[in-house]
């Protein structure tokens, strides 16, 4: 007579130490094994699409900082690019370079947070996270120097950027770009061959290649499953074609591969920064044009490679100063589609590690 056991339903979230913000999972356990997982969203829903309809194009820029609040430069970049494509505005050379420099710095800062918190979820008691915070602090100082804020920069404008770089910015960034590879090697020494991390993340939460494409995953999650797809190469925007860098991918698509892809992407971003620092021209940083942008009727769907994946803006304009409809395609939101398939059969501790490796930010999930 088999022992009669009942599955236990546990609400992990919205207030839980490691659900990266207000994300909730109704998980059904049979002992420690997950037999059912149902993500619940909406606790941080602020109605971005509705807000956009009552604000002018320029007034919406500070709101895009609050989408993926760990990569607000990339959100600004994606939004401004979409409006420029819609309105047909030409951006000066120097502004393009400044935007690429900011986007790549943001990618490094966002990946540092992602890996740090992934390690925290695996149980390392804040030490790797604090080492990565040290490097991120240097980046935040540079963002503060350029835009005046450490998290919500509101730095880019339609047609370029709001400020030119102050004189002491480039030498500081050069110093950072020279020192950073040594720190990334340190992280590898601490983590890459750590047997416990290998045991916790190798072969855990595998997202096969076909399911990754079918569930329209993007960014490091897609590349870790063996799909060589990066919008900076496949659908280049801004001045990315002028830089030589490659796209790190992995094969099995488990938690360890997602962590490794993020580490290598940081190294590639440093390569881009080096080349951008060498090639940045002088000149104006903002296109001439009305402060109040009024794009012609029509629609555009433009996408950039944000740190978390493909950040898309679908804007329908009816010729007035405010967008008629604006939809934000948040990469973290879509990357969660396959969470259920990735977690089934694994244990409680793995669900936390898998969620940490997908690296979601609730601002972008709930919009």
């Amino acid at each position: 007579m088999a022992l009669r056991t009942e599955p236990i339903v546990l609400n992990m979230g919205p207030q839980h130490p490691s659900t990266h913000g207000v994300f909730r999972m109704r998980v059904t356990f049979d002992g420690e094994v997950i037999v059912g997982l149902d993500p619940v969203f909406g606790y941080l829903h602020r109605g971005f699409d509705k807000l956009a309809e009552s604000r002018t194009y320029t007034q919406f820029i500070p709101l895009t900082d609050r989408l993926d609040y760990l990569a607000s430069m990339s959100n600004n970049f994606g939004y401004c690019l979409a409006v420029e494509r819609l309105a047909g505005i030409e951006v000066p050379e120097r502004a393009e370079y400044i935007r690429v420099i900011m986007a790549e710095m943001m990618r490094i800062s966002s990946h540092l947070m992602a890996i740090g918190f992934f390690l925290n979820d695996c149980g390392a008691f804040f030490t790797p996270l604090l080492y990565m915070y040290r490097e991120r602090e240097k980046l935040l100082d540079l963002f503060d120097m350029v835009s005046g804020q450490r998290l919500t920069y509101n730095y880019m404008r339609i047609g370029g950027v709001s400020h030119d770089l102050p004189p002491e910015f480039l030498p500081a960034l050069r110093k950072f770009v020279q020192e950073m590879p040594a720190f990334i090697d340190e992280y590898d020494q601490l983590l890459a061959e750590n047997e416990i991390l290998l045991a916790r993340s190798k072969g855990v939460g595998i997202l096969p290649r076909e399911m990754a494409i079918n569930a329209s995953a993007s960014g490091p999650v897609l590349r870790a499953s063996g799909v060589k797809w990066d919008l900076r190469k496949k659908d280049p925007y801004s001045v990315y074609p002028r830089f030589d860098f490659d796209i790190p991918t992995a094969e099995t698509g488990d938690c360890y591969d997602r962590y490794r892809v993020k580490v290598q992407e940081m190294r590639q971003s440093l390569r881009i920064l080096e080349q951008a620092l060498a090639q940045i021209p002088e000149g104006p940083v903002r296109a001439e044009g009305p402060h109040l942008v009024r794009p012609p009727r029509g629609e555009v769907y433009s996408r950039i490679e944000a740190p978390k994946g493909e950040l898309g803006f679908y804007i329908v304009s009816d010729g007035s100063v405010a967008p008629y409809r604006l939809h934000v395609r948040g990469p973290s939101f879509i990357n969660l589609t396959a969470l259920r398939e990735m977690c089934l059969g694994w244990k409680l501790a793995d669900a936390i590690a898998i969620l940490g490796s997908i690296d979601i930010v609730m601002g972008e999930v709930d919009r």
């Binding site: 130490p17 149980g123 804040f126 030490t127 604090l130 416990i196 045991a199 916790r200 244990k347 501790a349």
Partner: protein, 353 residues
């Protein structure tokens, strides 16, 4: 006359051990902070030394909440059952050389007493989880049962090696028998003891009991106020107890060249304590099934190999010379560790659902 000694020493143990565990809390918080390039507590008192006292006062002022449908009696009993064994372990530990070196240091069944006492705290942890009527605590309680029970076995077997080498169960005899500290004589035994003790205390990398990132705070999620202090202090007292036993059995207790014996004892205890929080500041956590696999597939065989080695050496006269034993054991230890790490796959995996 004995009664007076016992009472005096009982008071000494309670005061000394609680003082040391408060100092241990402060040392760990500053030590892990130093590993993370931050100063650690430095506001309460000079160098933050009064921080544990400030924490204790703050926690005592907190309201002591008992979950509504939780079992009130068990909820109150659990911290006591979890905390007291940690103090009782110090009864047999010899603090310094000579006659009155401990409460009952020369107890002839010292080791057996140690093992018996240290398995009582499991009941405390489990009752706490069960009485809190909270799913996270229940998860924590289930894990605590599985973990602590399965790590008792390698712990005990590693102590067998020590008893064999010293030829007696009394801790005083064991310390005197250590002309060469047993850590050199039985490196494998020390490794098994240390890892099993880490799991017993549920410290990283085995801290599944109160895995913050998974089950919030495990079995003491529903505890606050005085009861939480009992758990928190109990955890540090247990760590000190394990460090004290480790120092006595493997590092030669109070034996040491120049300094007074009591100072040597303290140095060795805090040396082990520093290693424990150094590990805590670095390593991630194992999963439950990996934890079990680690105990049964890795630590247990190593403990058996260790006992076998020591037994062979003790019985054959020719191998009696110490330095030969030390060399043979170290080589055998490294070989066994390498072999078993190749053999046992700890990864474990996905259950078909």
């Amino acid at each position: 006359m004995d009664w007076l000694h016992w009472i005096a020493f009982a008071v000494f143990i309670v005061v000394f051990v609680l003082g040391m565990s408060m100092f241990g809390i402060w040392l760990e918080r500053r030590g892990v902070a130093r590993l993370q390039m931050r100063p650690g507590p430095n506001r309460a008192g000079p160098l933050g030394l009064l921080q544990p006292v400030a924490d204790a006062v703050k926690i005592l002022l907190k309201e002591d909440i008992v979950p509504e449908r939780g079992d009130r009696l068990l909820h109150t009993l659990a911290p006591i059952v979890a905390f007291v064994p940690a103090l009782m372990v110090f009864a047999v530990v010899p603090f310094w050389r000579g006659e009155g070196a401990g409460l009952v240091p020369d107890m002839n069944i010292g080791l057996v007493y140690l093992v018996a006492i240290s398995s009582i705290s499991i009941v405390g942890a489990f009752t706490a989880g069960w009485a809190s009527n909270n799913k996270y605590s229940l998860m924590g309680a289930m894990r605590s049962m599985a973990q602590m029970v399965s790590y008792e076995v390698p712990l005990v077997l590693s102590l067998v090696g020590v008893a064999l080498a010293a030829g007696s169960l009394s801790l005083v005899r064991i310390v005197e028998a250590q002309s060469v500290p047993f850590i050199l004589l039985q490196p494998l035994g020390f490794l098994v003891y240390f890892l099993a003790a880490l799991a017993e205390l549920n410290r990283t990398p085995f801290d599944l009991l109160e895995a913050e990132s998974e089950i919030v705070a495990g079995y003491h999620t529903e505890y606050s106020g005085m009861k939480f202090v009992m758990f928190y202090l109990g955890e540090y007292t247990h760590t000190l107890a394990a460090a004290a036993i480790g120092a006595t059995l493997f590092l030669g207790g109070w034996k040491g060249p120049l300094l007074p014996p009591f100072l040597w004892f303290l140095i060795k205890v805090f040396a082990l304590f520093v290693v424990i929080f150094w590990i805590r500041g670095t390593l991630p956590r194992l999963r439950v099934d990996q934890l079990m696999a680690f105990a049964w597939k890795f630590l247990l065989p190593l403990a058996l190999v260790n006992i076998f080695l020591v037994a062979v050496e003790m019985s054959t006269q020719s191998l009696r010379t110490l330095w030969v034993m030390v060399a043979v054991n170290i080589v055998a230890g490294v070989l066994a560790v390498y072999l078993f790490s190749r053999l046992g796959r700890v990864r474990g995996g996905r259950v078909a659902v």
